[in-house]
Amino acid sequence: MPAQLVPTQYMSTLFKTLEWRLKRRLGYQEAKIRAEIEQSGYFHSEWYLANYPELLNEPRAVKDPLGYYLASGIQQGHNPGPGFHTQWYLEEYDDVRNASINPLLHYLRHGRQEDRRPTPFLGGVQSIMHKQGGANHRVIYKTRRSADLSHVGRIKRLEHSEGVQIWREFSQTFRAQQGSLAQQEAEYLHNRGFLPNRKRLYKLPDTRVDAYISDLQASLLAQTNGPMQPLLENTELQWQLYNHRVPMVANPTVTKKAQPTGPVLKVILMMDPAGAGLVPLSVVATKKATAATVGMALSMQLSPNSGRTRSVARFNSSGTVVGPRKPVPWEKYRYKAAWQQASKDIIFPIQKESLYSFVQLDIDISTPTPMLIRLAATPTVEDFQVHGPLMQNQTAIDFMREFGI
């Protein structure tokens, strides 16, 4: 019987070591790190090359900016994108500096959960166009990033005057619409900032209740736009600002023409703290309720990437919902072309300016050329949330943490 070279109890350790060495040799760890950073949204190739123009002379960096950042950029103190400030992170957190690890990886793996900030700038915004003095605005003051972000927790922290004013308006509207709601249900909805008809509309109570944008929260979200909020409250001003730059429906107060009544594309754009830019949170194509539709409005949720219809729902103001259901074949691509056109002609120029932190765009798609109707700071949340809660993905959670809403 041949002598055993390695004792049995060490065999598993040996295999693990060999596996690890093999994976390292095959570039597995590096690939894993690359994937982790790419998925986080904190690395922006274009931003990286634009902010370190000397790299344009480095063929290696031009060919693979992320590879260059991992191999050399970190040592040179480069920032991966607008949402992460390498030098500041190292100066701020001694343990990261002493541990000599990739600071961005530390943030993604540990810092994010440990209530550490990735950048000293709110929302990652340093000096995006026009933002002198910071257009972003923290709504619930003195909020730690690890604070309780449930609806109940948010309302407890609502102390500043604008917030309490909004609370008063909400509670009065709730009382006016309360109807025959039972005491227990009224307490559940009111104390979380939802209007009475949301019970049937969102099928509350639900374990995902904190991922729905409440009506109180929708009003508070408007304030994240800070000094730019007046731009979203005045249609005359919006007409002046945008009509010669994006296709726009004529302002009724200027032209005395009625607003369009056909299908409308509604898009919520939200500041992505990782990229310090606006990204589409959700897109729906809606049709208003009419007598022909028995008072039921239509909402079709589209994929922001492809424009394909994901889900279809009908609802009315009392909270009755039919659906959401999967689209039938002829509904699948109904608004794809309109979304792609609107995305190119309207959404992109507004994203590029980055004036706002949270904004809803209403776009008329009844004509072959999509036309902007208006921008609004307070979203019409029911059009979006009949399909399910809005604030579920990592970007939305980071936004909530950052702005304390």
Binding site: S127, P227, M228, E236, Q240, R245
Partner: protein
């Protein structure tokens, strides 16, 4: 309503008034004013006027309380409330103005964090390289950083142009201020003939009349520079530029006044350098300019008072900036408190 400026300032205690007072006092001491008697200086301070107003308004002869004070001019801005945001950002302001007037193309914003190109850098699109650019502060009412930069001779020198951008970034960092580069307008040939020294800006004060809120041009004047006060920044009456009063209805230049070399206010019919006649001439294209101004203010119902400056061009006017600092140019000819629209707005803001 208080009968004197001094009384109304003594009783102003709301935050907007206090903020306006703070801004006024800071500027009061920044102003390099002619030497005046201590007692008069004190009186001007407590009434909310800069020291230069003593000679510009000829206060030895005229009643100070008939004039809109510099403090009131700052205070008046709060009547636009939150919409002042639009008037305090050159990019937003340019978008709004582009609906009614010519607006120069904004190319690049320079801040301490670097350059943000609105258009592609001109060296990447050689065919559209401008021969001259102008640098403004991002705040449209601040003209202290203004200058024109000739690029034509260095059009081919990429190094020069990149160095220029880097210098501006350093400057923005040093002064903690954002700058904006845009193309430069070409002034109307008649005005260049009047005096070749820089732009002669047209200043317009728009208000709403008290009864129905209809737009009105409360005052219009042209500031004309001369050899004696040439500089990079737009000529100012405080530094010896002439102010030509324009009739808002007809565009006729009705009077021209300015400080002479002895620092005393003087009346001119012709430009002292070129002997070109000013008084009695009409501002080119005034009817079209007037219509555009009234249309702009009519469609901007969110604004109550607005003071704008323009470069007069061959085709009309090109937006230059907003201006809170040109009330003296208007008031050298007539006190603004006599205008019912101004008095009405002022009553509203100061209770």
């Amino acid at each position: 309503m208080f009968s004197t400026h001094k009384e109304s300032i003594a009783h102003a205690d709301d935050i907007a008034s206090l903020q306006a007072w703070k801004d006024f006092t800071l500027r009061f001491w920044e102003e390099s004013a002619p030497t005046i008697k201590e007692e008069q200086s004190r009186q001007l301070f407590h009434s909310g006027f800069y020291r230069s107003r003593a000679t510009l308004y000829d206060l030895a002869e005229n009643d100070l309380n008939a004039y809109l004070s510099d403090y009131q001019s700052l205070r008046l801005q709060s009547i636009n409330q939150k919409y002042q945001t639009v008037l305090s950002d050159r990019v937003l302001c340019s978008h709004v103005m582009a609906n009614y007037f010519d607006v120069e193309k904004n190319i690049c914003i320079i801040s301490k964090n670097g350059a943000q190109w609105i258009e592609s850098p001109w060296w990447t699109t050689e065919s559209s390289a401008p021969s001259m650019v102008q640098v403004h502060s991002l705040a449209p009412d601040d003209h202290t950083q203004y200058r024109k930069i000739q690029l034509a001779e260095n059009r081919d020198s990429l190094a020069f142009q990149k160095t220029l951008i880097n210098q501006l970034v350093e400057e923005a960092e040093e002064q903690s201020e954002a700058l904006i580069i845009s193309t430069a307008p070409v002034q109307h040939s008649w005005l260049t003939k009047v005096s070749p020294e820089g732009y002669h800006l047209l200043h317009v004060l728009l208000v709403r009349e008290p009864d129905e809120g209809l737009p009105e041009i409360a005052a219009a004047s042209l500031t004309v520079g001369s050899k004696a006060n040439q500089s990079n920044t737009p000529a100012r009456v405080e530094e010896g530029a002439l102010s030509a009063s324009i009739n808002p209805q007809t565009g006729l230049i009705t009077a021209c006044r300015g400080l002479n070399q002895q620092g005393v206010i003087d009346t001119y019919l012709q430009h002292p350098d070129t002997a070109q006649t000013l008084v009695g001439e009409h501002l080119p294209n005034w009817e079209a300019i007037r219509k555009a101004l009234l249309r702009f203010f009519d469609e901007s119902s969110y604004l109550h008072v607005c003071s704008l400056s323009f470069v007069v061009t061959e085709t009309g006017v090109s937006f230059f900036g907003t201006n809170t600092d040109v009330m003296a140019a208007h008031q050298m000819h007539q006190p603004l408190l006599e205008h019912p629209g101004i008095a009405n707005h002022l009553n509203k803001v100061s209770g």
